[in-house]
């Protein structure tokens, strides 16, 4: 029996009680993942217990790991001069092997296997299991390694707690400081917020792990703590630089639309100048000079039936005869407009679509075109200027991906994803459907549309015989938690999201054509799931010679 295995067995024996608790937490979490999520979500007591457990169990997991890692590593500490193992014939590589075996088997592989088991129980297909495994492994590793680093550089649990706490606070302060500094430098909050989004690459997930591993290895092999601390600080600096460079520099990109599907040359943009309106711009710093957002209705003509073109990005400018000008590059918030209703109707085979109006919503949405300084607005609001803009439009259409009868238990499965109707609750003027969705997201690769359900979706109740479709009056989440919230540090994906949503469908009495969702109507109804199919983007230019920020 090798000495490394001998030390590993000693560690198991030493921490058997904590490990038993750890295993119990993993099993209970897995049990909840497998069984509790299938319980009726209208059982509020059970749902409450489940919600509480889903929050408490990962916390408990985290606390256990916080205790286990320093106890196992500091049983043979690498710092100081009084450790028992220093004068025993245990080589540093043997010790490193023994501790690696413990960390890998107990804190990484075991929870990974349990996670995979839970995924299997939820019907994730083998191909997706294989694709999800690296992400799960990396997630567990990146959560444990920083604790190992701190444990290897401290001599006791008390020091570990102090250094760990200070490191965490320091990390938060640095991250907050850098984020604040970026926002202060660039005043366009929305642009900053959008630009923060990024996908996780294998390399960006591996780099922190490799750097932490190098610190741990150096400490085990040399026991030169100061050098290890220098390596650690250098590694953190490198990570910070990589993070800042990779998160800030990515330009917004949409692939070009297939011209066979949407011909941009046939699309025409125009502005309804009567709808031009100004509003105070939201800025990160609520101090003068304030700015104004100038919005207007954009009319898009020439799109094929059933297709939507949403303004997404604008590069706009306005120039006045006196030489004053302003330019703006920014994202345009997508809004629900008539073209959405038209596209839905087309996807539903021409059915009449009933959508209750949301408070404050207009059928004529306005899109932000320009952002100008308050002073320019005051001086030139009613002056005629030349407005030019290149607007990036995203083409899409709605596609029906599933039809379910309106009854409890009706289920749709697409590869690893599913949704099912768990409850059908009748109301005097409508119905509430509770829908549970299970959706897989992989950390390193996006699932293709044909491989699962999309996050952006629309549910519709369709009565084909009456050619009527009703959109939800209200939609609210009952429960939306990742199946394995676990604990993690850094960016991770929620690998399998299970959520329950209540869809409230009501009749519309004050509509032009009233509709009543009664038993008779429901008898011939189906619940449809539509997803937005993104088709790419294209740019169109706008030029308005007589543009006034405040129409007369």
């Amino acid at each position: 029996m090798s000495l490394a295995v001998h030390i590993f067995k000693k560690d198991i024996r030493h921490l058997r009680l904590l490990l038993a608790a750890w295993l119990a937490v993993l099993i209970v979490q897995s049990f909840l993942a497998v069984f509790a999520y299938t319980s009726p979500t209208t059982d509020r007591v059970l749902s409450g217990l489940l919600d509480s457990s889903s929050l408490l169990l990962p916390l408990l997991q985290f606390v256990l790991v916080l205790a286990i890692v320093p106890l196992v590593i500091q049983d043979e500490p690498l710092v100081g001069t009084t450790a028992f193992w220093f004068t025993r014939p245990v080589s540093r590589t043997t010790l490193l092997a023994a501790k690696s075996l413990f960390i890998l088997l107990i804190l990484i592989l075991l929870p990974t296997v349990i996670d995979l088991f839970s995924l299997v129980a939820h019907g994730v297909i083998p191909r997706h299991l294989a694709a999800a495994t690296p992400g799960i492994l990396l997630e567990k590793t990146s959560a444990v390694l920083p604790l190992w680093v701190i444990a290897a550089l401290t001599v006791s649990f008390a020091r570990f707690a102090i250094v760990g706490g200070l490191s965490f606070v320091g990390f938060i302060l640095i991250a907050a400081g850098m984020f604040t500094a970026k926002l202060l430098i660039s005043e366009d909050l929305e642009n900053n917020m959008v630009a923060e989004g990024q996908t996780t690459g294998v390399l960006s997930a591996l780099i922190p792990i490799l750097l932490a591993a190098s610190v741990v290895s150096n400490q085990y092999l040399t026991r030169k703590t100061r050098r290890s601390v220098v390596i650690l600080l250098s590694a953190l600096f490198v990570l910070l630089v990589i993070d800042q460079v990779s998160s800030g520099a990515r330009p917004f990109h949409i692939p070009a639309v297939d011209r066979a599907v949407v011909n941009p040359d046939q699309v025409r943009l125009s502005l309804d100048l009567k709808t031009v309106a100004a509003s105070d711009a939201f800025g990160f710093r609520a101090q003068p000079p304030l700015r104004k957002d100038i919005s207007a209705k954009i009319e898009v003509r020439g799109m094929p039936a059933g297709y939507i073109a949403q303004p997404t990005l604008t590069h706009a400018s306005i120039e006045y005869s006196d030489g004053k000008k302003a330019a703006f590059d920014g994202y345009v918030q997508q809004r629900w407009g008539q073209w959405e209703i038209d596209a839905l109707r087309h996807a539903l085979g021409g059915a009449e679509v009933y959508r209750p109006e949301q408070p404050g919503e207009s059928r004529e949405p306005l899109y932000r075109l320009l952002r100008v300084d308050e002073s320019l607005y005051r001086s030139h609001a009613q002056a005629a200027g030349t407005f030019t803009a290149d607007i990036l439009l995203s083409a899409s259409r709605h596609v029906v991906v599933a039809r379910l009868p309106v009854r409890q238990g009706a289920k749709f499965k697409k590869q690893s994803d599913y949704f099912l109707i768990t409850d059908v609750l009748r109301d005097p003027d409508g119905v509430r459907l509770v829908v549970r969705e299970g959706r897989l997201e992989l950390q390193f690769a996006d699932l293709k549309p044909e491989e699962g359900l999309r996050p952006g979706r629309i549910f519709v109740l369709l009565n084909s015989a009456r050619n009527q479709a009703v959109l939800p009056t209200d939609e609210h989440r009952l429960m939306s938690l990742p199946l394995f919230p676990g604990f993690s540090i850094g960016k991770t994906s929620e690998r399998f999201q299970v959520s329950s949503t209540v869809l409230v469908f009501r009749g519309l009495k004050r509509a032009e054509k009233p509709i009543t969702v009664d038993d008779q109507w429901l008898a011939g109804a189906q619940l449809l799931r539509l997803e937005t199919q993104d088709l790419g983007g294209f740019s169109k230019s706008l030029r308005v010679a007589d543009f006034r920020m405040k129409p007369e």
């Binding site: 029996m1 000495l3 001998h6 000693k10 024996r13 030493h14 049983d75 001069t81 009084t82 450790a83 028992f84 220093f86 004068t87 025993r88 014939p89 245990v90 080589s91 043997t94």
Partner: protein
């Protein structure tokens, strides 16, 4: 020391270690003959534990080098450590283990582990096998550490003040135990202590360390042969000589009696004394205990600058 025909378990050459601006050990050169019981003595803060930690590769020397069992101390690895037993008051044992578990944990690390010998030691020390180390008295912990360090019959046993803080009965048991074991085989025992009585009972070689500096390292017999307490009864009115030989220590005069410690006693010493005290009536030379010797050396060295050998 004549190094030609003797093997050395430990050798150092100008070994030194500093912590920030403090020199804990400087210019330490000594040789520990194989099979000897070698005691490194000195007061608190003398550098004894630092020396041992450098020898055991627990800390790196700042200067100089050392060899332990023929290997550079910086390269001590499992093959060498499997031949070295180490017990220290400063070492942290895995206190959550029972004595039985502790010994069972150590056993696979040593190919030469002798179960029979281990059992004998356990019985000799009367160790409670099922009690956890943290529940043992300090003396029992030392005994458990000794068993775990002796059961594989190491070639070199290093003891860093293992008996400090123990009550006299326990200390006596342990010392007798170590002596008995030293008699079994040609083990080398290197121990540090500030207890001179303990050293007198155990050691046949002694080195004196103070403020990081080595003042002497030689066999006890050699020390005892060259140190003598000299008493001189002077004649009436005889003055004390102005220039005292450098080898005289703790010179004191009380009435007509002069006393001093001669550190280089030889055949010519009495003649030399007679020459310096021409009118002396009587000269007696007594052997000194190690305790008296060390006190004298310590006191003599403290006010002086760094000097040469005694």
């Amino acid at each position: 020391m004549n190094s030609e025909n003797v093997g050395y378990a430990i050798e150092t050459w100008s070994l030194g270690r500093h912590f920030s601006r403090k020199e804990a050990v400087r210019n330490l050169s000594l040789q520990v003959p194989e099979g000897s019981v070698f005691a490194l003595i000195g007061p608190n803060g003398a550098g004894k534990t630092t020396t041992i930690k450098m020898l055991m590769n627990i800390i790196e020397p700042s200067e100089g080098r050392a060899q332990v069992l023929g290997k550079d101390s910086r390269r001590l690895g499992p093959p060498e450590l499997s031949q070295i037993g180490y017990v220290s008051e400063n070492q942290t044992l895995p206190e959550w283990m029972s004595v039985r578990h502790f010994l069972a944990y150590c056993r696979p690390m040593y190919p030469s582990w002798d179960d029979g010998f281990s059992q004998k030691l356990i019985e000799q020390f009367d160790l409670p096998l099922d009690r956890k180390l943290r529940d043992l008295s300090r003396g029992m912990k030392v005994q458990a550490a000794l068993v775990s360090s002796l059961a594989y019959r190491p070639a070199l046993l290093i003891l860093d003040e293992p008996f400090s803080g123990l009550d006299p009965v326990v200390r006596d048991d342990l010392i007798r135990g170590v002596l008995e074991l030293a008699g079994y085989a040609r083990w080398t025992i290197f121990l540090s202590s500030q207890d001179i009585e303990e050293v007198e009972r155990l050691a046949d070689w002694v080195a004196f360390l103070d403020q990081g500096q080595l003042y002497f390292a030689e066999s006890v017999s050699s020390l005892q042969s060259r140190f003598r307490q000299i008493e001189v009864l002077l004649g009436d009115g005889e003055p004390s000589p102005r220039d005292l030989p450098a080898s005289w220590m703790r010179f004191e005069m009380s009435g007509r009696t002069v006393r001093f410690l001669e550190s280089s006693y030889g055949d010519q010493t009495i003649e030399q004394v007679k020459h310096l005290f021409a009118g002396c009536r009587d000269i007696t030379a007594h052997a000194v205990s190690l305790r008296e010797l060390f006190i004298a050396v310590a006191r003599a060295r403290r006010p002086r600058a760094q000097g040469g050998d005694l």
